[in-house]
């Protein structure tokens, strides 16, 4: 499983700032730092805690090409000091300031330390991984990774979640089984002609014990009382019956039932069970009483949800989301828009972690090794058969260049999920809102 980058991480991760640096003998380091702290205002405004204040020459980026000096040359050891951001004070003023203090002032040994202030570029914001810190240290200035992340979930929360999901306690269902159940939910409604084989599983974790509390497949194509099957107009079907909306609806209904043993009255919503699989989990009163919406629940999805469903997860206050197939043209969770190696990867909404919304949750893309193997097998079968009769391609969205805008009748969707058909005038699965 790969944790998704947040919008902020994508947007701000590479912002830089100009700062002054100066080389000075180690024994004067503290003295000069004091001078800077006392005389240059506004240093608290910008947080540069992720950068070393003093750096030994040998830790500076290779492109500085500093001469290698040996102690035997009789020169005392020196350090490089990160003075302050360049926008706080002019180069001339900082120069004048340092000239007033040892070792740069006109005292006995000042001749040995010509004052040379250098303006350099450094990363403005803290790195979000040790790898990034190492990369930045090579490129800009020695950088710390402090195991914090101002733009997303705290790294320790992410690793705790990952270990809970990947190494489940005894009796808890394993992640691949959860993903398989989501797939089965989608297949079950698809078989009935109700949906497009996308599925959703909702799990509650109480004291390290997990409980599956809702399972739903997509039902956008379930014939409505009003509808005749030959309604052949291009349609997205009943948009409100995407798998996520149905699963979230089931949770609300269950809560009502557990709290008051009354049924919700609005029969217009398709969030009652439609398949035996959905029924099996819906009928169990296995959720914690007095819960609120889907607060901190865990959501397992076959596909990255659309904007509607992504925002429904925000409104429902979910805790963790894991989806298998990225939907690069319709998905609402991915914040990344382009990758160097694969090109476009998403719309860039990143709804799982937007600071302007009132709720954030962790989100992963599921990348099981078994899954990769299975795909390889499928690919092999495809090549052997010489045609594309099976197998979605939505995990390779970058190959798709069609511009279908809507999906057509139920048969067009349920009959095929292949982009191959896009060439025949049928829409591709990658343009579908999941």
């Amino acid at each position: 499983m790969v944790h998704l980058k947040t919008k902020e991480e994508c947007r701000l991760g590479n912002e830089t700032i100009r700062v002054y640096t100066v080389e000075l003998p180690s024994k004067h380091a503290e003295g000069i730092l004091k001078v800077i702290k006392e005389n240059i205002e506004g240093q608290d405004v910008i947080d540069l805690q992720h950068l070393r204040r003093f750096a030994k020459p040998k830790y500076l980026p290779p492109h500085w090409s500093l001469p290698v000096r040996k102690r035997t040359e009789g020169r005392p050891p020196t350090l490089y000091l990160l003075v302050c951001p360049a926008n706080l004070i002019s180069l001339k003023d900082v120069h004048d300031l340092l000239l007033q203090h040892p070792p740069f002032c006109s005292s006995a040994d000042s001749w040995a330390y010509p004052l040379e202030i250098k303006e350099i570029t450094v990363p403005m914001l803290a790195p979000t991984s040790p790898e990034q810190a190492a990369e930045w240290s090579e490129l800009y200035w020695p950088t710390f990774y402090r195991k914090t992340n101002p733009f997303g979930a705290h790294p320790s929360s992410i690793s705790k979640a990952e270990s809970e999901l990947q190494e489940p306690a005894t009796d808890n269902i394993a992640l691949p089984d959860m993903m398989k159940l989501a797939e089965e939910a989608g297949t079950a409604t698809e078989k009935l002609g109700y949906g497009i084989r996308t599925g959703c599983v909702i799990v509650e974790r109480v004291d390290d014990k997990t409980e599956i509390i809702a399972v739903a497949g997509d039902a956008r194509l379930k014939p409505l009382p009003s509808e005749t099957r030959e309604d052949a107009s291009c349609t997205s079907g009943n948009v409100m019956s995407h798998a996520v909306m149905r699963a979230v609806g089931m949770i609300g209904r269950k809560r009502l039932r557990v709290a008051s043993s009354t049924q919700a009255r609005d029969a217009f919503f398709l969030d009652l069970p439609l398949t035996p699989l959905e029924q099996q989990y819906f009928e169990r009163d296995n959720l914690k009483p007095d819960g609120y919406l889907c607060l901190k629940l865990e959501i397992f999805l076959t596909h990255e949800p659309c904007m509607m469903c992504s925002m429904a997860l925000v409104h429902s206050r979910v805790g963790r989301v894991i989806f298998e197939h990225r939907m690069s043209r319709t998905g609402g969770l991915t914040a990344e828009m382009v990758r160097n190696d694969t090109g476009p990867v998403g719309l860039g909404y990143g709804l799982c972690w937007r600071k302007e919304l009132n709720w954030q949750f962790m989100c992963w893309e599921y990348t099981a090794a078994e899954y990769a193997l299975r795909e390889k097998e499928k690919e092999k079968a495809r090549v052997l058969n010489g045609n594309d009769t099976e197998g979605p391609d939505e995990d390779h969205p970058e190959q798709n260049t069609t511009t279908a805008t809507t999906i057509c009748t139920s048969n067009a969707i349920t009959g095929s999920h292949d982009d191959v058909n896009a060439n025949l005038g049928m829409p591709s699965f990658t343009s579908i809102h999941v």
Partner: protein, 215 residues
């Protein structure tokens, strides 16, 4: 322009009046007062009030309640010739649903600067995407829409068990003028809240924050 001139304004005000009536109904049933009607060929084909509290479902917004009613009687394709009148700008979720359904146009009262999907926070109605965008027109009975929200927050506050400072229990009647809402940001970019913070419905939000704080 979300708050641009609306051609044939009186006609649209007639339907927004019905949406306001729905919002009043929500207020009297202790739901956040948001109401809407869907209009096809000059006729109301669906109406809804926010129902998140009664359903214990955070997605049961007025638009969804109305859409579910419409789906029971009409094929989804009817929405391509249907307009929505809603007292508060649709949220990001509803804005996306409406676009997937192919709604013809959306008329709303006040901006939703916490969750708005049609200019308040994001611009889901017009961002690049696989479905055609739809036009939005804001500002119909805006003051009334805001006052309904404020009444709700004051009502909720007065129901809270412990006594509150008097100022939070009084209804503020001053309404700030319209400022420029967020402009479109293709690709789901962040409409820069810091630079261009929508301050329209702030009073209501502030009131709500006070209530939450006190609970």
């Amino acid at each position: 322009m979300v708050f641009g001139p609306i051609p044939n304004r009186e006609y649209h005000e007639g339907f927004m009046r019905k949406a306001i009536e729905m919002a009043e109904l929500a207020l009297s049933s202790d739901e956040t007062p948001v109401g809407c009607v869907f209009v096809h060929d000059g006729e109301v084909i669906g109406r809804g009030i926010n129902g998140t509290n009664a359903s214990l479902n955070g997605t049961r917004h007025a638009e969804f309640v109305a859409l579910a009613e419409i789906m029971a009687k009409h094929p989804p394709s009817i929405l391509k010739d249907t307009d929505l009148y809603v007292t508060v700008e649709p949220c990001i979720m509803c804005a996306s649903a409406l676009r997937q359904f192919g709604i013809r146009a959306v008329y709303f009262g006040c901006l939703n600067d916490r969750f708005g999907g049609c200019g308040g926070v994001m611009t889901v109605h017009s961002d690049p995407g696989v479905d055609p965008p739809y036009p939005v027109y804001g500002g119909l009975f805006r003051e009334e829409a805001i006052m309904l929200l404020r009444k709700f927050y004051v009502q909720e506050n007065n129901k809270a068990p412990d006594p509150k400072p008097k100022k939070n229990r009084e209804l503020k009647t001053e309404i700030l003028p319209i400022t420029t809402p967020n402009v479109a940001t293709p690709g789901g970019g962040t409409p820069s809240l810091e630079l261009n913070k929508p301050i329209l419905e702030k009073a209501a939000v502030a009131a709500k924050a006070q209530i939450t704080q006190m609970k």
